[in-house]
Symmetry: C2
Subunit: 187 residues, 2 copies
């Protein structure tokens, strides 16, 4: 198994209690009481409501200055105070993937300021991006992004989502779901 592979499993058990699953664009995901996040592919989960896998990977759009800014301020996952988390699976339109990488970069950053907007919300929000598009199995989404933050940062996180969804990049999003969870037990 690729050590960069992670799977989000929605089902009967897991450390994260699902509070809301909201279809933002396109089809949503089935309801479930709990979410688990596991490295690799879980064995022996009987009838999960759904499960989504993706791999962390090298950056696709940031330049060196942006990467250094991110590395300097982005927090790790698993902070004790970060008891709120959101999983956002996204699929982009085939038109996005037909663009060349420099065209995608122009929309992503020069027009939409994706990294710049994200940086404004650091170090409050921890984030891990997983890629699904080039897995061997057909995937319903292109990306899974996992965010963790403290409850008093929730309004800021909502602003981050609103800012990103108002950008030209989001015209290429054809499916997006928000899975909002809270941690059941202290770390």
């Amino acid at each position: 198994v690729n050590p960069r592979l992670f799977t989000f499993v929605a089902g009967e058990s897991g450390p994260w209690k699902i509070q809301e699953i909201r279809a933002v664009f396109g089809e949503g995901l089935a309801a479930a009481p709990s979410l688990d996040v596991v490295n690799g592919v879980p064995m022996g989960v009987v009838f999960p409501s759904w499960q989504l896998s993706g791999v962390t990977s090298h950056e696709r759009y940031v330049n060196r200055a942006e990467k250094e800014q991110l590395v300097a301020v982005q927090p790790a996952l698993g902070r004790p105070e970060a008891t709120c988390a959101v999983l956002i699976p996204i699929r982009k339109h085939p038109r996005w993937w037909a663009l060349t990488p420099d065209e995608r970069r122009r929309i992503f950053e020069e027009q939409s300021h994706h990294t710049a907007i994200g940086l404004n919300h650091l170090p409050a929000v921890a984030r891990r991006l997983h890629h699904c598009r080039d897995l061997g199995e057909a995937a319903a989404f292109d990306f899974l992004t996992w965010f963790e933050f403290a409850p008093d940062q929730a309004a800021g996180f909502d602003r981050l989502l609103a800012e990103l969804r108002a950008t030209p990049e989001w015209e290429y999003v054809e499916r997006e779901v928000e899975v909002r969870v809270v941690r059941r037990t202290a770390l």
Copy 2:
């Protein structure tokens, strides 16, 4: 299964007769008499000598002008006269993946002229690139490139490989194998 997934299976049977397996950088691959190229993951292959999977994907480095030039001149796989083929699995050094995409583009094209060199050998050589790095299973290589050409184009193909291997980009290649095959039967 991802419809863009292909698997190269070396073993007892297959339409391509393996003539030579050469370790160019690092460890080679085991000898085998035949190679098969299948869409998806083959079922019921008993003890292949080795098998390697990868997915075709969107372009990582070309700009719009380069993409249009490629689309205009690149031939399809499966031409009847293209009875020679070469599979080249490559793994790049972690230093390559630690670069940002614009830094990789500069080495790939502005310094190494990867696409420009490839264009010089079109339409003689048909090519399909497969990505393995972001599969769910740990992969021994980052890319699998499959080339097809007519026997009288073999010298030109060797020149293409020599030109690419002399570029700055190739300083990041830590494993490369050449699997040379010829078609057993007419299409």
